[in-house]
């Protein structure tokens, strides 16, 4: 019996880089799960997620957060990316960890929905986040690549693993 929850690829940065891309993602799974553990290289950075190199205003997100003092929510629509962390939270020493699920990524009929949990621990903002997002790609295109980009270099040693989950 084939495994249902498979590792597709892992990228651990051997040197600092501004982005990490998983391309030619096989269409054989039902959902994707991206796990990140990443730091800023020379200062606090932010990280964003995009699909199929689309930087158009095709993303929107709702976020629920708690920062140790308060809890709240906010929202962005017609955005050019999905924020993986809250502003100013990816430090040089403590990795932001996130688990990002992308549902039904290979279909070409619906928009692609995303659920994410992330923890920011070392930057100017510290807290936990839960985020629901949608990507309205042109013609509901299947996701074949995804890119996590930093506002500045992502530190060497940062790790990104992409998994696939296959339904019967």
């Amino acid at each position: 019996m084939a495994s249902t929850y498979d590792s597709i690829a892992t990228q651990t940065l051997s040197s600092a880089a501004t982005s990490v891309t998983f391309s030619s993602i096989p269409s054989t799974f039902t959902d994707l799960v991206l796990v990140t553990s990443a730091m800023g290289d020379s200062g606090v950075i932010d990280m964003v997620l995009r699909f199929n190199s689309d930087s158009g205003t095709n993303y929107s997100s709702s976020r629920l957060y708690g920062d140790g003092t308060s809890a709240g929510s906010n929202r962005s629509i017609n955005a050019t990316k999905i924020d993986v962390n809250y502003s100013g939270s990816v430090s040089t020493t403590a990795p932001i960890t996130s688990v990002i699920t992308i549902f039904n990524y290979a279909n070409s009929t619906t928009y692609k929905s995303v659920l994410m949990r992330s923890a920011d621990v070392g930057g100017t903002y510290q807290g936990v986040n839960m985020i629901a997002s949608v990507w309205r790609g042109s013609s509901n295109q299947a996701i074949t690549s995804l890119t996590v980009s930093g506002t500045a270099n992502i530190k060497a040693g940062s790790m990104f693993t992409l998994y696939g989950i296959k339904a019967a």
Binding site: T4, N74, R75, T110, L115, A132, I165
Partner: protein
């Protein structure tokens, strides 16, 4: 036990034979996957009033349902409806639902609620409807831990959300929820999903049930 021979590794029946001491014949022991697909329902063009997983095998430690859904009906509240669940076909006043929600029409709001003695599990999250933007589906990850243990009540844990990318009449939310099923400690053998308003699930809604081994 006499030696075992693997035909695919033999030169012939009489020469170049490799003797294996066990029935594995040099093959690795089969280890079933820890996360296994049990069943999937993809809603077709006519829609579906309910989605049911029955006769769930009692061989796993935990269950997980991953679904993307949309109601074919109009919204019950705002642009949304509620993804709802009966456990073991039980619609009695047995569910204790708790939710924490970040939701938004145009400005951020945070809410939490708890309701006991509900007749269904209502904390699975709000779902997109025909009042939502086209092609928008809500996503839900539903965990039922230790589902076959007959010594404890069961909690249904959910992480869900959706975005329809509109202000004003639009809606986006992210939600965590739990439902305590209080009727009895009988093992969970069926899950019965429905739209709260009794509308159909829209075409392209999909539900996948997985088993997780301990």
């Amino acid at each position: 036990m006499p030696p075992v021979h693997k035909l695919s590794a033999m030169g012939s029946l009489t020469t170049n034979k490799i003797d294996y001491p066990s029935m594995l014949a040099g093959n690795a022991t089969y280890v079933p996957p820890s996360f296994e697909s049990i069943s999937t329902v993809n809603v077709g063009s006519g829609g579906a009033g309910t989605v049911v997983f029955s006769s769930i095998p009692q061989i796993y430690s935990h269950l997980q349902v991953r679904c993307t859904v949309r109601s074919a009906g109009a919204a019950t509240y705002g642009t949304s409806d509620t993804l709802s669940l009966y456990v073991n076909s039980d619609g009695s006043t047995t569910y204790f639902n708790n939710e924490l929600v970040g939701a938004d029409g145009s400005a951020g709001t945070l809410s939490f609620s708890g309701t006991n003695n509900s007749t269904y599990s209502s904390s699975l999250g709000w779902m997109a409807t025909s009042s939502s933007n086209a092609n928008v589906f809500s996503s839900h990850i539903i965990d039922i831990l230790d589902y076959q243990n007959t010594n404890k009540l069961r909690t249904i844990r959910t992480f869900s959300g959706y975005e329809d990318n509109r202000n004003g009449n639009g809606y986006g939310e992210v939600r965590i929820g739990s439902s305590l099923y209080q009727t009895n400690t009988t093992a969970i053998s069926s899950l019965y999903f429905f739209v709260y308003s009794s509308a159909n699930f829209a075409q392209y809604s999909s539900f996948a049930l997985y088993g997780i081994r301990g």
